[in-house]
């Protein structure tokens, strides 16, 4: 395979992220390593959303639901493991867990099931209605989490020990960064493979011209639902990692702010671009900490930047980078 322009930019973005974390680690700056970890996790969430939004054209404003479900599954399993109590006894006993390798599949499964139900219903609508229905489902879960006292309700749920991974010390910021970045890389490879497959061809065709796709014997609904579920599972995994990063989950992970933020990562970086969400999430976190130090109203500046990107560079950061190379 030859390296094309997009691949070079994609690899450069990942290299920059890894170099930042390693550099900060060498300099003993654990806080920056944690910021880079956060960028990797948010990037992963964006990569997940991008599969539905970018490639499938499914403008979901409810992906916080899957992020939050991944987070809550992690928090609930971890807190039960710490307390030594079962999560459930009926219909069969489910014990807590503090093993990431056990928690991730559970988080992804739960998020995937939620995506199956939410997707099956909301994909019967289109356009603005789809946006509103996905938003409504996520908000339903948000209010449910707030009013469910067993796992902290409005205050959220803390667990004091980060879950473990065999052979690694997950408390060391650089090691946890390595875990998150590896999963991000796996998700990127997965996305690259899937979007270039037959399924990916059909998904992108259905986005651009649904009627034509039907006339070629392909039912867009099943294709879109599959993409929505895969997307939800990736975002669920990101939610699990985020919960472990903070050792805390709260209803905020389920709120529409979160859905909006994940969408911002995708739009900043470049809709339907493989590494777009990673670049977008990194930029978001950079701005949050540079501008956030200058003014509490940094989000107003973020808003302006977002506006400028949508108006003048709809390909996002990746679009700008790849275009410059083309003319160079």
């Amino acid at each position: 395979m030859t390296l094309n322009r997009d691949t070079v930019v994609n690899l450069a973005i990942l290299a920059l992220l890894v170099a930042t974390a390693i550099g900060a680690h060498v300099l003993g700056n654990g806080f920056t390593v944690t910021l880079a970890t956060k960028a990797a996790i948010f990037g992963l969430a964006g990569v997940g959303l991008n599969l539905a939004l970018g490639y499938g054209g499914l403008i979901s404003f409810g992906h916080a639901a899957f992020f939050g479900i991944g987070g809550y599954v992690t928090g609930i399993l971890a807190s039960h493991a710490a307390a030594g109590t079962p999560v459930a006894t009926l219909p069969f006993t489910v014990m807590g867990s503090n093993e990431m390798l056990g928690i991730w599949p559970m988080a992804m499964l739960a998020a995937g099931l939620a995506a199956l139900v939410i997707g099956a219903l909301s994909l019967r609508t289109w356009g603005v209605y789809f946006i509103m229905v996905t938003l409504a489902f996520a908000q339903m879960l948000y209010y449910f989490a707030i009013s469910w006292p067993r796992y902290g309700g409005e205050d959220g749920l803390s667990f004091y020990v980060r879950n473990s991974f065999p052979g690694l010390n997950t408390f060391a910021p650089i090691q946890y960064f390595a875990i998150c970045t590896t999963l991000l890389a796996v998700a990127l490879v997965f996305t690259a493979v899937v979007t270039q497959s037959r399924f990916g061809l059909a998904l992108q065709a259905a986005r651009q011209n649904s009627q034509r796709t039907v006339a070629l014997g392909i039912r867009p609904y099943a294709i879109r639902l599959t993409a929505f579920v895969l997307s939800g599972m990736i975002v669920g995994l990101a939610g699990s990692l985020y919960a472990d990063l903070n050792r805390f989950v709260s209803p905020a992970m389920l709120s529409w702010h979160m859905s909006g933020e994940i969408m911002v990562f995708v739009i900043l970086g470049g809709v339907g671009r493989l590494c777009g969400p990673v670049a977008g999430a990194a930029l978001f976190i950079l701005l949050e900490h540079v501008l956030g130090g200058v003014s509490d109203y940094w989000q107003a500046l973020l808003g302006l930047l977002l506006l400028a990107i949508v108006l003048f560079a709809p390909g996002g950061l990746i679009g700008i980078l790849t275009q410059r190379r083309r003319h160079a």
């Binding site: 399924f199 061809l201 006339a215 070629l216 392909i218």
Partner: protein
């Protein structure tokens, strides 16, 4: 299911009716498409040609009547299932996947016809089961050498040919071509006429067309639709001579 005989119609439309409120857009239409023929469907604007096509492909449901395709009643099938049976449709306004290359467009059609779309693993562009038939149909439609051009960058005439390549890739048992000549220049129209004439050997064509030169050059039979009703069906000569057709449709042209 009994094996269809060689001269049985591929497509049999019987007593089709569709009303929108008080307007009967399709009023007791019966039509056949026989093996090896080009059957042209003509009629003034608003005669209900598009509505009829949409019912045949399964995009809208008729109020009454029935459609058989190769002897099988297809009334209960959705549009995707009908396409997979080999009912290949082209659209009035060119309808292709704009960001895809010509090759990817036709590969999509090959994948759709195969019914095996849920393949997540292998890169589609490296899948010779997709690329080889796709390249063959691109050449067949007269687009050889243009397969790596994005559909959006193709000329209008080339996009028409791309649609035909996509229709061919469905391994069609019948073509439904909705105004393929629309917007083609004189030369493009001549080329397309030749391509359509060859296409008849692949499968019969139900041709909706406004271009009377093309219709009279190509059609084996012509049906005239006026206000949702078929007022006449016959050979080109019969239709040209039919007084009712001359009065209601060919008036200004004959």
């Amino acid at each position: 299911m009994p094996e269809p005989k060689r001269h049985d119609p591929i497509l049999e439309i019987r007593g089709l009716r569709k009303s929108f409120g008080a307007l009967a857009a399709t009023d007791d239409v019966s039509l056949d498409l026989r093996p090896g023929e080009i059957h042209a469907l003509i009629g003034p604007n608003g005669a209900g040609k598009s509505t009829l096509i949409k019912q045949i492909v399964g995009e809208i449901r008729p109020d009454a009547g029935s459609i058989r395709f190769e002897g099988q009643v297809i009334d209960g099938l959705d549009a995707a299932a009908r396409a997979r049976l080999g009912l290949a449709r082209s659209f009035q306004v060119s309808s292709v996947i704009a960001d895809f290359t010509a090759l990817q467009n036709v590969m999509l059609a090959v994948a759709g016809a195969s019914g095996a779309v849920f393949r997540f693993h292998r890169p589609a562009l490296a899948d010779r089961k997709l690329t080889e038939p796709a390249l063959f149909h691109i050449e067949q439609a007269g687009l050889a050498g243009r397969h790596l051009v994005p559909a959006a960058a193709l000329s209008h005439g080339e996009r028409r040919k791309l649609e035909i390549a996509m229709a061919l890739a469905l391994r069609p048992r019948a073509f439904l071509l909705d105004e393929p000549m629309a917007g083609m220049g004189l030369e493009g129209g001549r080329q397309l006429t030749a391509i359509l004439s060859d296409l008849r050997a692949e499968a019969p064509i139900l041709l909706v067309e406004h271009d009377m030169d093309a219709v009279f050059a190509l059609a084996d039979r012509v049906s005239v639709l006026v206000y949702g009703r078929v007022i006449a069906t016959g050979s080109v000569a019969e239709i040209r001579a039919n007084p009712e057709v001359r009065r209601s449709y060919l008036g200004e042209e004959a």
